[in-house]
Symmetry: C2
Subunit: 224 residues, 2 copies
Protein backbone atom coordinates (compact mmCIF):
# COMPACT_ATOMS: atom_id res chain seq x y z
CA UNK A 1 0.00 0.00 0.00
CA UNK A 2 1.34 3.44 -0.90
CA UNK A 3 0.54 4.96 2.47
CA UNK A 4 2.67 2.55 4.44
CA UNK A 5 5.76 4.76 4.65
CA UNK A 6 3.82 7.85 5.73
CA UNK A 7 1.25 6.39 8.09
CA UNK A 8 3.45 5.57 11.11
CA UNK A 9 5.00 9.06 10.96
CA UNK A 10 1.70 10.91 10.54
CA UNK A 11 0.22 8.90 13.39
CA UNK A 12 2.91 10.30 15.64
CA UNK A 13 3.04 13.86 14.33
CA UNK A 14 -0.60 14.72 13.71
CA UNK A 15 -2.75 15.15 16.82
CA UNK A 16 -5.86 14.64 14.67
CA UNK A 17 -4.78 11.33 13.10
CA UNK A 18 -6.90 9.05 15.28
CA UNK A 19 -10.01 11.19 14.77
CA UNK A 20 -10.24 10.83 11.02
CA UNK A 21 -11.55 7.94 8.93
CA UNK A 22 -9.39 5.33 7.22
CA UNK A 23 -10.45 6.81 3.93
CA UNK A 24 -9.22 10.28 4.89
CA UNK A 25 -5.94 8.84 6.16
CA UNK A 26 -5.52 7.12 2.82
CA UNK A 27 -6.32 10.36 0.99
CA UNK A 28 -3.60 12.24 2.88
CA UNK A 29 -1.05 9.48 2.30
CA UNK A 30 -1.88 9.25 -1.40
CA UNK A 31 -1.26 12.97 -1.69
CA UNK A 32 2.08 12.74 0.08
CA UNK A 33 5.48 12.18 -1.40
CA UNK A 34 8.92 11.70 0.05
CA UNK A 35 11.63 14.01 -1.25
CA UNK A 36 15.29 14.47 -0.50
CA UNK A 37 16.50 18.00 -1.03
CA UNK A 38 20.22 18.39 -1.53
CA UNK A 39 22.17 20.85 0.53
CA UNK A 40 21.80 24.38 -0.78
CA UNK A 41 18.65 23.71 -2.78
CA UNK A 42 15.92 26.36 -2.75
CA UNK A 43 12.69 24.56 -1.87
CA UNK A 44 10.20 27.38 -1.68
CA UNK A 45 10.37 30.71 -3.37
CA UNK A 46 7.88 33.36 -2.38
CA UNK A 47 4.16 32.95 -2.38
CA UNK A 48 3.54 29.82 -4.46
CA UNK A 49 1.94 26.80 -2.79
CA UNK A 50 4.67 24.24 -2.24
CA UNK A 51 2.56 22.12 0.08
CA UNK A 52 2.88 21.20 3.73
CA UNK A 53 6.48 20.21 4.44
CA UNK A 54 7.38 17.82 7.23
CA UNK A 55 11.08 17.50 7.98
CA UNK A 56 12.36 13.96 8.64
CA UNK A 57 16.09 14.68 8.71
CA UNK A 58 18.46 17.49 7.87
CA UNK A 59 17.64 21.15 8.27
CA UNK A 60 15.58 23.73 6.39
CA UNK A 61 16.09 27.45 6.75
CA UNK A 62 13.16 29.82 6.43
CA UNK A 63 14.01 33.41 5.58
CA UNK A 64 12.80 36.69 4.17
CA UNK A 65 14.62 38.31 1.31
CA UNK A 66 14.88 41.84 -0.02
CA UNK A 67 15.02 42.85 -3.67
CA UNK A 68 18.74 43.35 -3.23
CA UNK A 69 19.20 39.78 -2.06
CA UNK A 70 19.79 40.61 1.60
CA UNK A 71 18.20 37.97 3.81
CA UNK A 72 17.14 37.47 7.40
CA UNK A 73 16.74 34.01 8.92
CA UNK A 74 13.36 33.68 10.59
CA UNK A 75 13.80 30.16 11.93
CA UNK A 76 15.02 26.67 11.10
CA UNK A 77 13.13 23.41 10.82
CA UNK A 78 14.53 20.10 11.97
CA UNK A 79 13.31 16.52 12.33
CA UNK A 80 9.63 16.49 13.28
CA UNK A 81 9.07 20.16 12.45
CA UNK A 82 6.35 21.15 10.09
CA UNK A 83 6.09 24.08 7.75
CA UNK A 84 2.70 25.62 7.06
CA UNK A 85 4.02 28.90 5.64
CA UNK A 86 5.03 27.02 2.49
CA UNK A 87 1.38 26.11 1.95
CA UNK A 88 -0.25 29.42 1.16
CA UNK A 89 -3.21 27.59 -0.39
CA UNK A 90 -4.03 26.05 3.00
CA UNK A 91 -3.88 29.26 5.01
CA UNK A 92 -5.26 31.89 2.70
CA UNK A 93 -4.79 34.65 5.24
CA UNK A 94 -1.01 34.29 4.87
CA UNK A 95 -0.02 36.61 2.07
CA UNK A 96 3.62 37.35 2.68
CA UNK A 97 6.57 35.74 0.95
CA UNK A 98 9.09 33.52 2.63
CA UNK A 99 11.91 31.49 1.17
CA UNK A 100 13.05 28.06 2.25
CA UNK A 101 16.41 26.43 1.53
CA UNK A 102 17.82 23.07 2.52
CA UNK A 103 20.88 23.75 4.63
CA UNK A 104 21.88 20.11 4.67
CA UNK A 105 20.73 17.16 2.62
CA UNK A 106 17.19 16.94 4.02
CA UNK A 107 14.63 14.19 3.82
CA UNK A 108 11.09 15.56 3.86
CA UNK A 109 7.54 14.40 3.39
CA UNK A 110 5.47 16.86 1.40
CA UNK A 111 1.67 16.85 1.40
CA UNK A 112 0.05 18.43 -1.63
CA UNK A 113 -1.32 21.84 -0.61
CA UNK A 114 -4.73 21.66 -2.21
CA UNK A 115 -5.31 18.13 -0.89
CA UNK A 116 -4.44 19.29 2.61
CA UNK A 117 -6.67 22.34 2.19
CA UNK A 118 -9.57 20.14 1.08
CA UNK A 119 -9.27 17.75 3.99
CA UNK A 120 -8.86 20.57 6.51
CA UNK A 121 -12.17 21.99 5.30
CA UNK A 122 -13.89 18.78 6.46
CA UNK A 123 -12.13 18.44 9.80
CA UNK A 124 -11.99 21.37 12.22
CA UNK A 125 -9.22 19.62 14.16
CA UNK A 126 -6.98 19.59 11.07
CA UNK A 127 -7.70 23.24 10.45
CA UNK A 128 -6.91 24.07 14.07
CA UNK A 129 -3.65 22.14 13.81
CA UNK A 130 -2.64 24.05 10.67
CA UNK A 131 -3.51 27.43 12.19
CA UNK A 132 -1.79 26.69 15.50
CA UNK A 133 1.35 25.59 13.67
CA UNK A 134 1.39 28.93 11.84
CA UNK A 135 0.58 31.05 14.90
CA UNK A 136 3.28 29.42 17.00
CA UNK A 137 5.85 30.62 14.46
CA UNK A 138 4.39 34.13 14.56
CA UNK A 139 5.93 34.59 18.00
CA UNK A 140 9.36 33.40 16.86
CA UNK A 141 9.30 35.74 13.94
CA UNK A 142 8.18 38.70 16.04
CA UNK A 143 11.00 38.07 18.45
CA UNK A 144 13.64 38.12 15.71
CA UNK A 145 12.13 41.28 14.26
CA UNK A 146 11.92 43.05 17.57
CA UNK A 147 15.53 42.34 18.46
CA UNK A 148 16.82 43.45 15.09
CA UNK A 149 14.56 46.47 14.71
CA UNK A 150 14.72 47.98 18.10
CA UNK A 151 17.47 46.89 20.28
CA UNK A 152 19.97 45.88 17.64
CA UNK A 153 20.51 43.08 20.15
CA UNK A 154 22.29 41.01 17.48
CA UNK A 155 24.75 43.82 16.97
CA UNK A 156 25.14 44.57 20.64
CA UNK A 157 25.80 40.95 21.54
CA UNK A 158 28.24 40.57 18.65
CA UNK A 159 30.14 43.64 19.85
CA UNK A 160 30.18 42.35 23.40
CA UNK A 161 31.47 38.90 22.41
CA UNK A 162 34.14 40.34 20.10
CA UNK A 163 35.35 42.78 22.74
CA UNK A 164 35.37 40.16 25.44
CA UNK A 165 37.28 37.72 23.23
CA UNK A 166 39.86 40.39 22.38
CA UNK A 167 40.15 41.40 26.03
CA UNK A 168 40.76 37.88 27.32
CA UNK A 169 42.71 36.70 24.28
CA UNK A 170 40.50 33.61 24.06
CA UNK A 171 37.86 32.38 21.63
CA UNK A 172 35.79 31.06 24.51
CA UNK A 173 33.83 33.42 26.69
CA UNK A 174 33.29 31.85 30.08
CA UNK A 175 30.71 34.29 31.44
CA UNK A 176 27.19 33.07 32.27
CA UNK A 177 24.23 34.37 30.26
CA UNK A 178 23.15 36.16 33.42
CA UNK A 179 26.48 37.97 33.67
CA UNK A 180 26.46 38.93 30.00
CA UNK A 181 22.93 40.27 30.40
CA UNK A 182 24.02 42.38 33.35
CA UNK A 183 27.01 43.79 31.44
CA UNK A 184 24.78 44.61 28.49
CA UNK A 185 21.90 46.03 30.51
CA UNK A 186 19.59 43.39 29.11
CA UNK A 187 17.66 40.37 30.43
CA UNK A 188 19.05 36.84 30.72
CA UNK A 189 16.29 35.36 28.56
CA UNK A 190 17.07 37.82 25.79
CA UNK A 191 20.78 36.96 25.87
CA UNK A 192 20.08 33.21 25.96
CA UNK A 193 17.69 33.40 23.09
CA UNK A 194 20.02 35.52 20.97
CA UNK A 195 22.91 33.14 21.72
CA UNK A 196 20.70 30.29 20.55
CA UNK A 197 20.03 32.25 17.37
CA UNK A 198 23.80 32.81 16.89
CA UNK A 199 24.41 29.16 17.58
CA UNK A 200 21.82 28.05 15.00
CA UNK A 201 23.58 30.35 12.56
CA UNK A 202 26.87 28.56 13.30
CA UNK A 203 28.47 31.73 14.66
CA UNK A 204 29.04 30.41 18.18
CA UNK A 205 28.81 27.13 20.03
CA UNK A 206 27.16 27.27 23.43
CA UNK A 207 28.12 24.64 25.99
CA UNK A 208 28.62 24.37 29.73
CA UNK A 209 32.19 25.53 29.30
CA UNK A 210 31.03 28.80 27.83
CA UNK A 211 30.47 30.45 24.49
CA UNK A 212 32.94 29.47 21.80
CA UNK A 213 33.25 31.76 18.79
CA UNK A 214 33.22 29.62 15.64
CA UNK A 215 32.86 32.21 12.90
CA UNK A 216 34.83 35.35 13.73
CA UNK A 217 34.25 36.86 10.33
CA UNK A 218 30.46 36.83 10.64
CA UNK A 219 30.60 38.01 14.22
CA UNK A 220 32.73 40.95 13.18
CA UNK A 221 30.33 41.70 10.33
CA UNK A 222 27.40 41.71 12.74
CA UNK A 223 29.26 44.06 15.07
CA UNK A 224 29.73 46.72 12.37
CA UNK B 1 -31.32 40.62 30.33
CA UNK B 2 -27.65 41.60 30.47
CA UNK B 3 -26.77 40.11 27.10
CA UNK B 4 -29.21 42.25 25.19
CA UNK B 5 -26.71 44.96 24.21
CA UNK B 6 -24.07 42.49 23.02
CA UNK B 7 -26.18 39.87 21.30
CA UNK B 8 -27.13 41.75 18.10
CA UNK B 9 -23.51 42.79 17.57
CA UNK B 10 -22.06 39.35 18.22
CA UNK B 11 -24.62 37.82 15.93
CA UNK B 12 -23.25 39.94 13.14
CA UNK B 13 -19.54 39.72 13.93
CA UNK B 14 -19.06 36.11 14.98
CA UNK B 15 -19.37 33.53 12.19
CA UNK B 16 -19.93 30.86 14.84
CA UNK B 17 -22.80 32.60 16.64
CA UNK B 18 -25.63 30.55 15.13
CA UNK B 19 -23.85 27.27 15.81
CA UNK B 20 -23.67 27.59 19.58
CA UNK B 21 -26.35 26.98 22.20
CA UNK B 22 -28.37 29.72 23.90
CA UNK B 23 -26.55 28.89 27.10
CA UNK B 24 -23.15 29.47 25.50
CA UNK B 25 -24.33 32.72 23.95
CA UNK B 26 -25.48 33.83 27.39
CA UNK B 27 -22.12 32.83 28.88
CA UNK B 28 -20.22 34.97 26.37
CA UNK B 29 -22.54 37.94 26.91
CA UNK B 30 -22.31 37.66 30.67
CA UNK B 31 -18.54 37.76 30.40
CA UNK B 32 -18.62 40.83 28.18
CA UNK B 33 -18.52 44.45 29.18
CA UNK B 34 -18.77 47.70 27.31
CA UNK B 35 -15.96 50.20 27.87
CA UNK B 36 -15.17 53.62 26.54
CA UNK B 37 -11.46 54.35 26.41
CA UNK B 38 -10.54 58.00 26.28
CA UNK B 39 -8.19 59.30 23.64
CA UNK B 40 -4.57 58.57 24.52
CA UNK B 41 -5.33 55.85 27.06
CA UNK B 42 -3.09 52.78 27.11
CA UNK B 43 -5.39 49.76 26.98
CA UNK B 44 -2.97 46.88 26.77
CA UNK B 45 0.56 46.77 28.00
CA UNK B 46 2.69 43.80 27.05
CA UNK B 47 1.84 40.22 27.67
CA UNK B 48 -1.00 40.37 30.21
CA UNK B 49 -4.40 39.00 29.20
CA UNK B 50 -6.65 41.97 28.57
CA UNK B 51 -9.34 39.92 26.89
CA UNK B 52 -10.75 39.90 23.40
CA UNK B 53 -11.39 43.48 22.28
CA UNK B 54 -14.04 44.34 19.73
CA UNK B 55 -13.98 47.92 18.47
CA UNK B 56 -17.40 49.61 18.10
CA UNK B 57 -16.23 53.16 17.36
CA UNK B 58 -13.04 55.19 17.45
CA UNK B 59 -9.62 53.80 16.71
CA UNK B 60 -7.08 51.65 18.54
CA UNK B 61 -3.40 51.57 17.62
CA UNK B 62 -1.40 48.38 18.07
CA UNK B 63 2.37 48.79 18.33
CA UNK B 64 5.63 47.29 19.48
CA UNK B 65 7.87 49.20 21.83
CA UNK B 66 11.56 49.11 22.60
CA UNK B 67 13.12 49.57 26.05
CA UNK B 68 14.01 53.09 25.01
CA UNK B 69 10.38 53.91 24.24
CA UNK B 70 10.75 53.88 20.46
CA UNK B 71 7.63 52.45 18.88
CA UNK B 72 6.47 51.01 15.57
CA UNK B 73 2.82 50.94 14.57
CA UNK B 74 1.79 47.44 13.48
CA UNK B 75 -1.79 48.23 12.57
CA UNK B 76 -4.94 50.05 13.62
CA UNK B 77 -8.35 48.70 14.61
CA UNK B 78 -11.60 50.40 13.68
CA UNK B 79 -15.31 49.67 13.96
CA UNK B 80 -15.94 45.95 13.61
CA UNK B 81 -12.30 44.97 14.04
CA UNK B 82 -11.33 42.46 16.65
CA UNK B 83 -8.13 42.11 18.60
CA UNK B 84 -6.95 38.64 19.58
CA UNK B 85 -3.35 39.63 20.37
CA UNK B 86 -4.59 41.31 23.53
CA UNK B 87 -5.87 37.93 24.73
CA UNK B 88 -2.71 35.94 25.34
CA UNK B 89 -4.66 33.53 27.51
CA UNK B 90 -6.78 32.51 24.51
CA UNK B 91 -3.91 31.92 22.08
CA UNK B 92 -1.16 30.49 24.21
CA UNK B 93 1.22 30.21 21.31
CA UNK B 94 1.39 34.02 21.14
CA UNK B 95 4.21 35.02 23.44
CA UNK B 96 5.33 38.40 22.19
CA UNK B 97 4.36 41.73 23.67
CA UNK B 98 2.26 44.31 21.94
CA UNK B 99 0.86 47.57 23.21
CA UNK B 100 -2.52 49.07 22.42
CA UNK B 101 -3.59 52.68 22.83
CA UNK B 102 -6.85 54.42 22.08
CA UNK B 103 -6.12 57.05 19.46
CA UNK B 104 -9.55 58.55 19.74
CA UNK B 105 -12.31 58.13 22.31
CA UNK B 106 -13.18 54.53 21.51
CA UNK B 107 -16.19 52.43 22.45
CA UNK B 108 -15.28 48.77 22.76
CA UNK B 109 -16.78 45.50 23.90
CA UNK B 110 -14.35 43.38 25.86
CA UNK B 111 -14.82 39.65 26.42
CA UNK B 112 -13.03 38.22 29.42
CA UNK B 113 -10.03 36.26 28.18
CA UNK B 114 -10.39 33.14 30.29
CA UNK B 115 -14.11 32.92 29.56
CA UNK B 116 -13.40 33.14 25.84
CA UNK B 117 -10.62 30.55 26.18
CA UNK B 118 -12.97 28.19 28.00
CA UNK B 119 -15.72 28.45 25.41
CA UNK B 120 -13.27 28.11 22.51
CA UNK B 121 -12.13 24.80 24.00
CA UNK B 122 -15.66 23.45 23.56
CA UNK B 123 -16.27 24.79 20.06
CA UNK B 124 -13.74 24.18 17.28
CA UNK B 125 -15.42 26.88 15.20
CA UNK B 126 -14.69 29.48 17.90
CA UNK B 127 -11.09 28.34 18.13
CA UNK B 128 -10.73 28.52 14.35
CA UNK B 129 -12.19 32.03 14.37
CA UNK B 130 -9.71 33.16 17.05
CA UNK B 131 -6.73 31.63 15.26
CA UNK B 132 -7.74 32.98 11.86
CA UNK B 133 -8.15 36.46 13.32
CA UNK B 134 -4.59 36.25 14.66
CA UNK B 135 -3.08 34.74 11.51
CA UNK B 136 -4.65 37.36 9.26
CA UNK B 137 -2.76 40.04 11.19
CA UNK B 138 0.48 38.09 10.84
CA UNK B 139 0.64 39.10 7.18
CA UNK B 140 0.07 42.80 7.96
CA UNK B 141 2.80 42.74 10.55
CA UNK B 142 5.24 40.94 8.27
CA UNK B 143 4.66 43.52 5.60
CA UNK B 144 5.46 46.44 7.90
CA UNK B 145 8.56 44.64 9.14
CA UNK B 146 9.79 43.77 5.71
CA UNK B 147 9.48 47.31 4.42
CA UNK B 148 11.23 48.79 7.40
CA UNK B 149 13.92 46.15 7.74
CA UNK B 150 14.95 45.66 4.19
CA UNK B 151 14.01 48.31 1.83
CA UNK B 152 13.77 51.20 4.25
CA UNK B 153 10.77 51.94 2.07
CA UNK B 154 9.40 54.31 4.70
CA UNK B 155 12.61 56.31 4.57
CA UNK B 156 12.92 56.15 0.79
CA UNK B 157 9.36 57.31 0.24
CA UNK B 158 9.75 60.09 2.81
CA UNK B 159 12.88 61.32 1.03
CA UNK B 160 11.15 61.17 -2.33
CA UNK B 161 8.10 63.13 -1.13
CA UNK B 162 10.24 65.77 0.63
CA UNK B 163 12.47 66.26 -2.40
CA UNK B 164 9.53 66.41 -4.77
CA UNK B 165 7.73 68.95 -2.59
CA UNK B 166 10.88 71.10 -2.38
CA UNK B 167 11.42 70.81 -6.12
CA UNK B 168 7.90 71.87 -7.07
CA UNK B 169 7.45 74.33 -4.20
CA UNK B 170 4.11 72.69 -3.34
CA UNK B 171 2.80 70.58 -0.46
CA UNK B 172 0.83 68.46 -2.88
CA UNK B 173 2.56 65.90 -5.04
CA UNK B 174 0.49 65.27 -8.14
CA UNK B 175 2.29 62.18 -9.42
CA UNK B 176 0.45 58.86 -9.61
CA UNK B 177 1.52 55.95 -7.41
CA UNK B 178 2.69 54.23 -10.58
CA UNK B 179 4.91 57.18 -11.45
CA UNK B 180 6.35 57.38 -7.95
CA UNK B 181 7.07 53.65 -8.03
CA UNK B 182 8.90 54.03 -11.31
CA UNK B 183 10.99 56.94 -9.99
CA UNK B 184 11.85 54.93 -6.88
CA UNK B 185 12.52 51.65 -8.66
CA UNK B 186 9.77 50.00 -6.68
CA UNK B 187 6.36 48.49 -7.39
CA UNK B 188 3.09 50.40 -7.47
CA UNK B 189 1.50 48.17 -4.80
CA UNK B 190 4.40 48.83 -2.45
CA UNK B 191 4.12 52.60 -2.91
CA UNK B 192 0.32 52.55 -2.49
CA UNK B 193 0.51 50.47 0.64
CA UNK B 194 3.24 52.61 2.18
CA UNK B 195 1.25 55.78 1.32
CA UNK B 196 -1.74 54.22 3.10
CA UNK B 197 0.52 53.59 6.09
CA UNK B 198 1.70 57.25 6.01
CA UNK B 199 -1.87 58.38 5.65
CA UNK B 200 -3.01 56.32 8.66
CA UNK B 201 -0.17 57.93 10.59
CA UNK B 202 -1.49 61.38 9.64
CA UNK B 203 1.67 62.25 7.71
CA UNK B 204 -0.01 62.65 4.32
CA UNK B 205 -3.50 62.80 2.89
CA UNK B 206 -4.09 60.76 -0.24
CA UNK B 207 -6.83 61.86 -2.61
CA UNK B 208 -7.50 61.99 -6.32
CA UNK B 209 -5.79 65.35 -6.49
CA UNK B 210 -2.56 63.84 -5.25
CA UNK B 211 -0.58 63.35 -2.08
CA UNK B 212 -0.79 66.24 0.34
CA UNK B 213 1.88 66.48 3.01
CA UNK B 214 0.21 67.14 6.36
CA UNK B 215 3.06 66.66 8.81
CA UNK B 216 6.30 67.99 7.37
CA UNK B 217 8.16 67.55 10.62
CA UNK B 218 7.52 63.81 10.83
CA UNK B 219 8.20 63.35 7.13
CA UNK B 220 11.54 65.05 7.55
CA UNK B 221 12.32 62.90 10.59
CA UNK B 222 11.54 59.73 8.61
CA UNK B 223 13.80 60.92 5.78
CA UNK B 224 16.84 61.25 8.08
Amino acid sequence: MPQSIFEPVYKEIFPFWNEISEEDKKFICQNSHAVTYSKGKNIHDGNECSGVILVRSGSLRLYMMSDEGKDITLYRLHNGDMCMLSASCVLQTITFDVFIDAEEDSKCYVINGSAFAAISQCHPSIKIFALETAVSRFSDVMWVMQQILFMSMDKRLAIFLSDESARTGSDTITLTHEQIARYMGSAREVVSRMLKYFSNEGIVEVSRKGIKILDKKRLRKLAL
